[in-house]
């Protein structure tokens, strides 16, 4: 694929509106890592009315638990994990203004509905392309929950990180539907 559009993070509302399901884009800018355990903690903090360790409004979350960084690299292998495991927590984060998510695979109807209401977009990165994706991450800074090891929340800087718009802000999906008939 040539001439792929570069999209800057954090996302603006105009950018979110312009993204269409099925479109490949290259993401450049900051995002936060969070997967199962971090999502559980973040939503528990929200339920208790506590301040979160990072801002969510306008931000993008990447569902990733990287492998350890070898000497001289900011991060190890860093491909996406399955997004559906975060579905139970996602509407609460979208409510806080989360604009973008990077993961792989399906989302629940509740998530798609919340994305529509809160004007957010879901990007897919290629699962298992983790060493390639690592080359598009130029910085990694620990933000919270170090005891969660690979599941800690980090602030990443992406540089032309290849993704596909899997579900856009109007709920259109690029994933092939395979219902049991």
């Amino acid at each position: 694929m040539t001439d792929i559009r570069e999209v800057l993070l954090p996302l603006t509302d105009e950018t979110v509106s312009s993204l269409r399901a099925g479109e490949p884009v290259l993401l450049t800018g900051p995002c936060y890592t969070a997967r199962d355990a971090a999502h559980k903690r973040l939503t528990e903090m929200l339920a208790r009315g506590e301040a979160l360790p990072m801002p969510l409004a306008g931000q993008t979350v990447y569902y990733v638990g990287p492998s350890p960084a070898p000497a001289g690299r900011p991060i190890g292998a860093a491909g996406p994990t399955s997004s559906y495991r975060m579905d139970a927590y996602t509407p609460a984060l979208l409510q806080q203004g989360l604009k973008g998510m990077i993961g792989k695979g399906k989302r629940s109807a509740e998530v798609v509905d919340a994305m529509r209401r809160h004007h957010a977009v879901y990007f897919g990165a290629v699962g298992g392309a983790a060493a390639l994706l690592s080359r598009h991450i130029t910085a990694c800074e620990l933000i919270a929950f170090p005891e969660l090891q690979s599941e800690a929340v980090c602030r990443l800087t992406l540089e032309r990180f290849p993704v596909l718009v899997l579900i856009d802000c109007e709920g259109r999906s690029a994933l092939v539907e395979t219902p049991i008939i």
Partner: protein
């Protein structure tokens, strides 16, 4: 009796998991490359080309192919004429896994208690060890680094004998259909038919590491493998779920005698990053 020391076993196991995580098996690499060449969907071809590029990045940068470096599963075939010296066999296997994951920059993905505590064990131990006693004076070790994106999409069905071939075929294809894009297609589908509940699952897991160029020796099962593969590819899920003609690289079936009342079918899904390595000691 031939003697094999725990130190040898430990070093061999460590090497298996380092190799499996950093270098994809040549047959899988070839199959992914061929799939990229064949692909008609632009998005899926983009995904597949990222996978072939990823193998090179992993080699050049000293990184694992995937960040989920898996739960370590070891299939050990221990010859009855082997005497293991210097400790307990299972301890040596665990120590080898610990060495690979702590010294090789591999991710530690194991939690101690599955339901309540979920505290990381920090060394990716314990591994899952299946040991069989066989004839001879060698030890054969197969290490599988099993990612859970695909493991979570696996199923076991206790079908009735009346379900027959059509029922088995449908169960296999439906498992891939339900999994959709989640297990990182193109997938490798390991199937165990027969035995009992756990033997079917064990056969299925073992089949995820069968070389892609092999077929079941019974032509009827070989035909079922080919048929299931083409039906899964006809689902159109495609690489990374982006559509296209390749959803699976292989379907591998193993069979075992079973009870007159049963037809167990286990389907163990493995992602394209099927990481396994073996060694004979």
């Amino acid at each position: 009796m031939r003697e094999i020391s725990c130190a040898q076993i430990r070093a061999a196991v460590a090497q298996l998991f380092l190799t499996a995580n950093r270098q994809i098996a040549p047959d899988i690499r070839q199959a992914v490359t061929d799939a990229a060449d064949r692909e008609t969907s632009t998005a899926a071809r983009y995904a597949l080309s990222q996978l072939t590029e990823n193998y090179v990045c992993a080699e050049e940068d000293g990184l694992p192919i995937c960040q989920d470096t898996g739960l370590a599963v070891v299939f050990a075939e221990v010859g009855q004429e082997v005497r293991i010296t210097g400790g307990l066999f299972s301890d040596a296997v665990t120590a080898g896994v610990r060495d690979a994951y702590t010294e090789g920059s591999l991710r530690k993905s194991v939690v101690d208690d599955p339901l309540f505590d979920r505290t990381n064990t920090l060394d990716n131990c314990p591994p899952i060890l299946h040991t069989a006693l066989v004839s001879g004076d060698r030890i054969h070790l197969l290490g599988i680094a099993k990612g859970f994106g695909s493991e979570n999409m696996s199923r076991i069905g206790m079908l009735t004998p009346a379900a027959g071939e059509a029922g088995v075929l449908r169960y296999i294809v439906d498992t891939a259909r339900l999994a959709g894009p989640n297990p990182c297609p193109p997938i490798i589908v390991g199937v165990g038919i027969g035995g009992d509940f756990e033997q079917a699952a064990l056969l299925a897991k073992r089949m995820t590491a069968r070389p892609l160029n092999k077929r079941h020796p019974d032509p009827r099962y070989a035909a079922l493998e080919t048929r299931a593969l083409s039906e899964i590819n006809a689902l159109g899920i495609g690489a990374a779920g982006y559509g296209g003609v390749t959803t699976a690289l292989n379907v591998a079936i193993a069979t075992a005698p079973t009870h007159i009342a049963g037809l167990p079918v286990a389907v163990n899904i493995c992602c394209h990053a099927s990481r396994h390595a073996e060694i004979n000691l």
